[in-house]
């Protein structure tokens, strides 16, 4: 694992702001603009062939506010890598990974639901765990747990 980390650091120095080994997972911090390039290279050069997961962490009060967290797994090296990037509340936009991984379609929809992160070029950002007409993004820290939502009426006909 350390060998892959070294190799990653050597080859990606220009793109990655910070790389470290956190509890057995490689953690890379990248700029939003570099995301697509880094993921592309992770996939083609380092065989990270499974896009496991994307979620975000809302650091309310910090700037930029949202930390978007990606996890990838390589079925060749049996290594996980975590990619983190920050976006501001005013423009929470990132490049979508749908061109690289099919699984991005669904998982980015969830992240969009929950945090309002907009994934550029994802053609389908309809609500997935929520529903049409849901107001707000429930996993943001400023969304109160008790918040009520518009109701779906019973069908009487």
């Amino acid at each position: 694992m350390a060998a892959v980390l070294d190799l990653l650091q050597q080859r990606l120095t220009g793109h990655v702001r910070e790389a470290s080994l956190v509890h057995g997972t490689l953690a890379l911090i990248v700029a939003p603009g570099e995301l697509l390039v880094v993921v592309q290279r992770l996939k083609t050069e380092f065989q990270f062939d499974i896009f496991l997961d994307v979620t975000a962490v809302d650091w309310l009060g910090q700037e930029p506010r949202f930390e978007v967290v990606y996890h990838f797994y390589s079925t060749r090296h049996f290594v996980r890598v975590r990619l983190k990037t920050r976006v501001a509340e005013a423009d929470p936009t990132l490049d979508s990974l749908v061109s690289l991984y099919g699984s991005a379609r669904y998982m980015e929809r969830e992240c969009h639901d929950m945090y309002g992160i907009v994934f550029r070029d994802n053609p389908d950002l309809r609500p997935i765990l929520l529903y049409e007409g849901f107001v707000g993004h429930p996993l943001r820290k400023d969304y109160p747990k008790e918040q009520e939502q518009p109701l779906v009426p019973y069908r009487n006909d």
């Binding site: 956190v22 099919g102 669904y106 998982m107 747990k145």
Partner: protein, 405 residues
């Protein structure tokens, strides 16, 4: 008092390519989809041309709710993700928290967790295979399998006090040790399991109807499976021996002897067979673990997470305070983030947790295999008959609890 919504679901398509194609809505509450999920399908006669899968009907704000409880209080919540194998959820979550706290569990706990994970996997696969067979009309096979599953549930109830949602894991250990005679009964159940699983093989493996419904139906290639993030039995059914228990060993898996069964072409039949073989491997592992199980404590001796002995709580002030703080404030988890994944019955179940050093989580995210699988299930449904949706969906084993969280 509130404004109302006309339609909570916006389908991806509301027109068909050809005038005589029809669009049908299946679910979210439908006897043939054993999970609360809605599928909007465009049909050309009986053939499925395109599907739009909608989940979220069981969304209950798991991740939001996690942010206002102590770390220990979340254990019953994670039970309810995959309610067919709740113990695996328990142990994966506990391990993530233990990693942040820098706790190493005791040997007995490590082996017991491994044993119970495999036992849960058997119960989960039994449920999946039984339900899938029942939906094809194999009622006898269903009853045989569910009978064994019920022995397991009753047996786990003897251990944990509950049949389905056990809340048995603890940060730094387990709720309590095995009761008297538990392993003896386990051995009996494994023997019965083998008898009845042999009958299932006899009933369905070469059954013409079963093969016609399952072979070459719902096929997914390895490349597609990886692209859409499939893990677990579905990925293995395409012929790739990728299993976290083997590739990144956790708990006691490195010390066990087991095979990773794979399929040939990733169709329904392969998924059925991979699950059947995996159960045999799990039973093989359980038998090894029964012999390996060491004596000793099941909880770590660490005041940050383990409750003090009850007698001491009643007799000395330090233990009383310790008990009170652990119950009221919960274990204090050092700041940091961690992603821990276990091979659950359906695939990679990961917990990504972020702590700011307090008694409540800053963020808990569950990487649920069922949710990711729903993102690629259209590949297995499109191009087949409408009736094939039933066995295909059964072999995918979507669990609403973890899919919708």
């Amino acid at each position: 008092m509130q404004n109302r919504i006309a339609n909570p679901v916006r389908p991806a398509f509301d027109k068909t390519e050809r005038a005589d194609d029809v669009i049908v809505n299946i679910g979210p509450s439908h006897p043939a989809t054993h999970g609360t999920i809605q599928i909007i399908a465009a049909l050309d006669g009986e053939r499925v041309k395109r599907v739009d899968v909608h989940c979220g009907y069981l969304h209950r704000g798991f991740e939001k709710e996690c942010e206002s409880h102590t770390w220990a209080n979340l254990i019953p919540y994670v039970d309810r993700l995959n309610y067919c194998s709740a113990l695996i959820n328990n142990f994966a979550y506990c391990e993530a928290v233990e990693t942040l706290m820098g706790i190493e569990i005791t040997p007995r706990c490590r082996y017991l967790r491994t044993l119970l994970s495999e036992y849960s996997r058997v119960a989960d696969h039994l449920t999946c295979v039984a339900a899938a067979l029942m939906e094809l009309g194999a009622m006898t096979a269903f009853l045989y399998l569910v009978m064994i599953r019920d022995y397991i549930y009753e047996h786990l109830a003897d251990l944990t006090g509950a049949r389905v949602t056990y809340s048995y894991g603890r940060i730094g250990g387990l709720a309590h040790d095995l009761p008297e005679g538990w392993l003896k009964r386990l051995d009996e159940i494994l023997g019965q399991y083998e008898v009845f699983v042999a009958r299932i093989h006899g009933l369905v493996d070469r059954n013409r109807i079963f093969i016609d419904r399952m072979r070459d139906v719902g096929v997914i290639s390895t490349a597609d499976a990886l692209d859409f993030g499939f893990t677990g039995p579905i990925l293995r059914s395409t012929g790739v021996p990728r299993d976290l228990r083997r590739d990144t060993p956790y708990l006691a898996y490195a010390e066990l002897d087991f095979d990773v069964p794979v399929g040939i072409k990733g169709d329904n039949y392969d998924r059925y067979y991979v699950r059947m073989r995996e159960m045999d491997e799990s039973v093989h592992m359980i038998r090894q673990l029964m012999d390996m199980l060491p004596e000793g404590p099941i909880n770590v001796d660490d005041r940050r997470c383990t409750l003090p002995d009850k007698q001491l709580v009643y007799s000395e002030i330090e233990s009383l305070i310790n008990h009170f703080k652990l119950i009221m404030d919960g274990p204090q988890v050092p700041a940091g983030e961690v992603y821990r994944a276990h091979e659950s019955a359906n695939g990679e179940l990961g917990f990504y947790i972020v702590s700011t050093g307090e008694g409540t989580p800053y963020k808990v995210h569950a990487r649920a295999p069922s949710f990711v699988h729903m993102g690629g299930v259209h590949l297995m449904l499109e191009g087949y008959q409408l009736a094939d949706m039933v066995p295909t969906f059964g072999s995918v084993n979507m669990i609403g609890g973890e899919c919708d969280r």
